[in-house]
C-alpha cells in the first residue's frame, strides 16, 4: 500500500480565488492511500518544496500528488523535489487544478468540486505508480537546419561557431531566402544584399557547414540526439563540384522565356539559370520542365559551351542519409496569393502588384534595374496607392485571408513610401491603413519620418475597389477620419499581402511529429518561456516558420535556437524518458498491429519459445520495444487487440483508475 502525500497549491490567487484549497486538502485526506495532506501559497517556491521534502521524511511517504498548475509547467520541478527527498521522481503525479480548473471556472463551489475530483484521479493513479528509471542515449554531434533563409543562415553560423558541424537543406538552388529579394531594410535602410551576401559567403566558406541546395528532407526517423534523416538532393543536371558559375551556359541557352521566380515572374530567365549574381552555391541549375534537351533530347548547347564539362543530362535525384542530434526548422514564409482579392484587380491589371514585387521593382538587380517603372508600360508612376492589411487581420474573410496580423507590413510600407518620395519627389504617395503598428526599436520614429519629413499621405481607411480604366487605376476608398469617400486616379497600386508559412512546413511537421497551429505556424513548447523550442524534443524553431517576424527578430530568434542546439549537442549523453511502452510477452500475439502504428519504428519482433498449457512448447512471435527509440506516445497500446502492450507511467490500468475515480 502506498503512503501518499497530497499538496494543494494556491498559486497565489490563481487557484485560491476560485477553488477552496483547504476544502480540497481536507477532502483528499480520506482517499485510499493518503496519509498526509496540506496546502500552501506557492508550492513551487523554495518554502513549498521544503514543505514537501519534510513531509516525505516525517510521514514516510511513497508517493506524492501535487494539485497545482499544468504538469507542463512544474512536473519537472516537483519530480526534482521528490528525488531530493529520496523518492523515485516518477512517484509524483500532478493534478492540474489551475489551467483545467480554476482558470475555467467562475464560482468557488464548482471549482472546488472539480479540483477534488481531479485530485482523486491523481491519487488513484499514484496508488498504481511504480518507480521508473530512465535509460541513456548518446548524442550525435551534428545539427540539421531546414531552410536557408536569413533564419537558417544565422542559426547555422552560430552553431558552427561553437564548433559543431551543421548541414543546411534548402529547397531552392541558392540559399538567401526572402531577404535576398529585398532592396533596403528598415529602419536603417541599409541594403539587404550588403548585409546578407557576406553572411551567405561565410556559410559557404565555413568548413563546419555543408549546404544541400536544391534539396528537400524526405524522411525523418529517430528522436532527440539521434535523428536519422534522408535528404533528397534533386537532380540539377549540373555537377555542383565542377561548375564554376561562369554563366556562359545561361547566356547561350536558347530557351529564354521562362518566368523568373526570383523576380516574381516580372521578367524571364533561361532554362539553365543561376537565380542571382550572389547565389550560394554559385552553380547553374537546369529547369527540367523548360529544358529542350531534357524534354525532347535535342539542343545540348549548354553542354557544348561549358568549358568545365559540368553539364550532366543524366543526373538523377540523390538520396543522402545522415544522423543528426538536433533539427532546426527555418522554413520561412510566403506572401499569400492575391488571386482571390478581386476587389483590388490584382489579376486584371499588371499595375496592381504586391509589396514583394514592388521590392524587386526598386532593386538594382531587379527587372527594371532599380528604376521605379510600372510593369504595364514601363512608365514612371506619378500616383502610387499602398494598401495595407490585404488579407491580414481579416477574421471575416477566412477563405481568402488570415486572421492574424502579418506584423512586417506597416514597416515595409512606410519604407516603400519613404524611399519612393525620396527618389521621386514628384510622386504622390498614399497609404491606406487600419492601424499603423510600429512597436520596435526606432520603428515608430521611422514611420513618423515617412509622414512628417517625406510627406506621405497616410489615410485611415480601407480601399473598397480598384478598377482599371485606360492607363489609370481608379481607386475608391474611404477616409474614416474625415468621414468621406475618396476617388484617386493611381498609376500603381501596391498591396501589402499577408504572409503565411511556406507550404513545405505542414508535411515537414508531420515528419517531425512537431505541432502546428491552425495557420500552419509551428507551435513553440511554451509561448513565453520556451519560444524557440518545439514541444517535440530536439526540434527547434527559427524565424517566420513560428510566426510573422521581421529581420531583427528573426536573427535574434535564430541565435536563440542555435544556443539551444549548442546546449544539446554539448552533452555526451541524454537521459531518456522511462515512460515507454513494453509488451507482455505472455499475452502478445505477434500480430504486428503495434509495429504498424508506431511512428518511431521502435517495435520489432522476435521468435521466442513458450511453454504452452498442455506441456507443449511453441515458438511464438512476440513484440519487443526499443526503449531508446520509443517516445511513449501510446499509439501501440491502443492498437494492441489483446492489451499486451502497455505504457510505463501511463498504464491502461492507471488511466482506468483515474477514469473510475472521476466517474465514481
Amino acid at each position: 500500500m502506498q503512503r501518499i502525500g497530497v499538496f494543494v497549491c494556491w498559486c497565489g490567487s490563481n487557484i485560491a480565488a476560485t477553488v477552496d484549497v483547504k476544502a480540497v486538502a481536507e477532502a483528499l485526506k480520506s482517499e485510499p492511500g493518503v496519509v498526509y495532506s496540506a496546502d500552501y501559497q506557492y508550492m513551487c517556491s523554495q518554502a513549498g518544496q521544503d514543505l514537501i521534502k519534510e513531509a516525505v521524511k516525517e510521514h514516510n511517504l511513497t508517493g506524492i500528488v501535487v494539485c497545482s498548475c499544468s504538469p507542463r509547467m512544474h512536473e519537472a520541478t516537483f519530480r526534482k523535489t521528490a528525488a531530493a527527498a529520496g523518492l523515485n521522481p516518477y512517484m509524483v503525479e500532478i493534478a492540474n487544478i489551475r489551467e483545467q480548473c480554476s482558470w475555467v471556472h467562475k464560482d468557488i463551489p464548482s471549482g472546488t468540486e472539480k479540483a477534488i475530483i481531479l485530485g482523486k484521479a491523481a491519487v488513484a493513479k499514484v496508488n498504481l505508480n511504480t518507480p521508473l528509471t530512465p535509460g541513456e542515449s548518446p548524442v550525435t554531434k551534428r545539427a540539421l537546419v531546414i531552410g536557408g533563409g536569413i533564419a537558417g543562415i544565422q542559426t547555422a553560423l552560430d552553431i558552427a561557431d561553437a564548433g559543431f558541424p551543421v548541414d543546411i537543406v534548402e529547397k531552392n538552388p541558392t540559399i538567401g531566402g526572402k531577404m535576398a529579394q529585398l532592396d533596403k531594410t528598415f529602419p536603417t535602410l541599409d541594403c539587404a544584399a550588403c548585409i546578407l551576401t557576406p553572411k551567405m559567403v561565410d556559410v559557404a566558406q565555413n568548413d563546419k557547414i555543408r549546404i544541400f541546395s536544391y534539396s528537400e528532407v524526405s524522411e525523418i526517423k529517430g528522436f532527440v540526439g539521434n535523428f536519422d534523416v534522408t535528404i533528397r538532393k534533386k537532380a540539377r543536371y549540373v555537377k555542383e563540384d565542377v561548375c564554376t558559375g561562369c554563366g556562359l551556359c545561361v547566356e547561350k541557352c536558347p530557351q529564354k522565356k521562362i518566368p523568373n521566380e526570383f523576380n516574381l515572374g516580372m521578367d524571364n530567365r533561361s532554362a539553365i539559370y543561376i537565380p542571382f549574381a550572389q547565389a550560394v552555391p554559385k552553380v547553374a541549375t537546369i529547369d527540367a520542365e523548360a529544358c529542350t534537351m531534357l524534354k525532347k533530347g535535342k539542343c545540348g548547347l549548354c553542354s557544348k559551351v561549358c568549358t568545365a564539362g559540368a553539364i550532366d543530362y543524366k543526373q538523377q535525384d540523390e538520396l543522402i542519409s545522415e544522423k543528426y542530434g538536433a533539427i532546426v526548422v527555418a522554413t520561412g514564409f510566403n506572401p499569400i496569393s492575391m488571386e482571390k482579392f478581386d476587389e483590388y484587380a490584382y489579376s486584371q491589371s499588371k499595375d496592381v502588384i504586391t509589396s514583394l514585387e514592388f521590392e524587386r521593382l526598386t532593386n538594382a538587380a531587379g527587372p527594371t534595374a532599380g528604376k521605379l517603372l510600372r510593369p504595364s508600360d514601363l512608365k514612371h508612376p506619378h500616383t502610387i496607392v499602398f494598401v495595407q492589411c490585404v488579407g491580414s487581420r481579416c477574421a471575416s474573410c477566412a477563405e481568402k485571408g488570415k486572421e492574424y496580423c502579418s506584423k512586417i507590413c506597416c514597416m515595409y510600407t512606410a519604407k516603400h513610401a519613404m524611399l519612393t518620395r525620396d527618389k521621386y519627389p514628384d510622386t504622390d504617395v498614399y497609404v491606406f491603413y487600419i492601424d499603423v503598428r510600429t512597436p520596435g526599436k526606432n520603428f515608430d520614429e521611422f514611420y513618423r519620418r515617412a509622414v512628417e519629413e517625406y510627406g506621405v499621405h497616410y489615410i485611415k481607411g480601407m480601399v473598397g475597389k480598384v478598377t482599371p480604366e485606360g492607363d489609370k487605376l481608379k481607386v475608391r476608398a474611404s477616409d474614416l477620419l474625415n468621414n468621406k469617400q475618396l476617388n484617386i486616379d493611381a498609376d500603381l497600386v501596391v498591396l501589402a499581402a499577408a504572409i503565411e508559412p511556406d507550404k513545405s512546413a505542414r508535411p515537414l511537421a508531420t515528419m517531425l511529429t512537431a505541432s502546428m497551429d491552425t495557420n500552419d505556424f509551428f507551435t513553440e513548447a511554451h509561448p513565453k518561456l520556451r519560444p524557440v523550442e518545439s514541444p517535440t524534443a530536439g526540434v527547434f524553431l527559427s524565424g517566420a516558420c513560428q510566426g510573422p517576424k521581421d529581420i531583427p527578430e528573426t536573427v535574434s530568434q535564430a541565435g536563440a535556437a542555435a544556443s539551444k542546439v549548442i546546449g544539446l549537442l554539448a552533452k555526451d549523453k541524454l537521459t531518456g524518458n522511462p515512460c515507454v511502452a513494453s509488451s507482455d510477452e505472455l499475452m502478445c500475439n505477434g500480430c504486428s498491429s503495434c509495429e504498424r502504428v508506431c511512428p518511431y519504428g521502435a517495435i520489432s519482433y522476435i521468435d521466442k519459445e513458450f511453454r504452452m498449457p498442455d506441456r507443449t512448447v511453441a515458438i511464438r512471435r512476440v513484440a519487443s520495444v526499443n526503449p531508446a527509440v520509443c517516445q511513449g506516445c501510446g499509439a501501440c497500446t491502443v492498437a494492441c487487440p489483446s492489451g499486451a502492450m502497455d505504457l510505463r507511467g501511463f498504464a491502461s490500468g492507471q488511466i482506468m483508475a483515474e477514469v473510475d475515480a472521476i466517474c465514481k
Binding site: 499475452m587 505477434g590 500480430c591 504498424r596 502504428v597 507443449t616 512471435r621 487487440p641 489483446s642 492489451g643
Partner: protein
Amino acid sequence: MQKITRDQLIEKAASLLGNGTVSCVLGWEKGEFDYDVTPALFETESELREKFVFGDFCGANLSKYLVSKTRKCEGRILVFLKPCDTYSFNQLLTEHRFDREKAYVVGIPCEGMADIERVKELCGDGISSVTADGDELVVTTLYDDEPVRVKAESVLAERCVNCKSKKHVAYDELIGEDGEVLSSARFDEVARLEAMTPDERFAFWQNELSKCIRCNACRNVCPACTCERCVFDNPSSGVENKAAANSFEEKMFHIIRAFHVAGRCTDCGECSRVCPQNIPLHLLNRKFIKDIDDFYGEYQAGAEVGSRAPLVNYTFDDLEPGEVFERGGQDA
C-alpha cells in the same frame, strides 16, 4: 445443392494423406443432428470415411483452427476452405498467427450454406433429419409422417444471400472452378440502422444484446479473436471484473469486441451463425466495415496477405479526425 460431394473431398484428402503431403485433415463431422456439423481433425483415411461430412450445414469456417492445430500437429494440415473462409485465412497470416507452410489449403466451391433457423421457420421444430436432394432439402420432423421438401435457396443463411465473394483468395489447390468477387447488398441492413434515430437504434441494440447469455461462442468462433489471452479472461485488463456488472452484456461486451476486431474482421459472419440467441452480431462489424470503406476507401480485410488496414496505417490523404467526426455526426 453443393456442387461437390463428400466423396470427392474424402478422395482428395485420402490421396494427400497417402502420399505424405499432409499429416492430418481439418474438416467437418456430424454432431448430434444432421444440421449441427462441427469442425474436426482427422488423422487417418478410415477416420475420414467413417466421420467426415460435407453438405449444406458445413458453414463453419475452419481457418481459425489452424492457430491451435498447427502448434499441435507435426507436418502439414490439409484444410478445406470455402471462398469466404480464405479471407479469414489471409487475415490470420497477415497477423502472423500461424506458419503458412504448415497449412495445405484445398479451395472448395460453395453454393451457399443453409441456416437451420430458416429451415425451422418453414418446417417447425423437432427436426430429426435433413438431407439434400437436388436443389431441395428433405426435412423430417418428429411430428410429421411425411417429410417436408424445401428449396435450399429459400433457407440460405443471410451471409450467403449477401455473399461477398465466390473467389478463393488463398489456396494450394482448387477443387472445381474459382468464382468472382460479388457485389452484394450486405450493407443495406446497416444503412437501415443508420437511418434510425439514436433512441430507436439504442432500443434496437438493447433489445438484441439483452438476449446475450455470455456463452462466449461468438468470441470463440471468431477468426479475428485469436488473442493468446482475451481481455475478458484477463483479471488485470480492467475489463474483466466489469463483465460481472449489471447490463454489461447489453452495452459493453459486444461493443468492445467489435472495436477489437475493427479493421480485421473479414465479415465471415461466424459470430451470428453460432449465436444461440440469434443476435445479429455481424451488423456491428459491418457498421465498422462500411465506415472504413466510406472514410478511407474500400478495404476488404484478408483480400491479400500483409495489407495494411486503414486503421493501422497513415497516409497524407487520410481524412482529418474532425471530418470523420462530422460525417459520423450527420449519420447519427
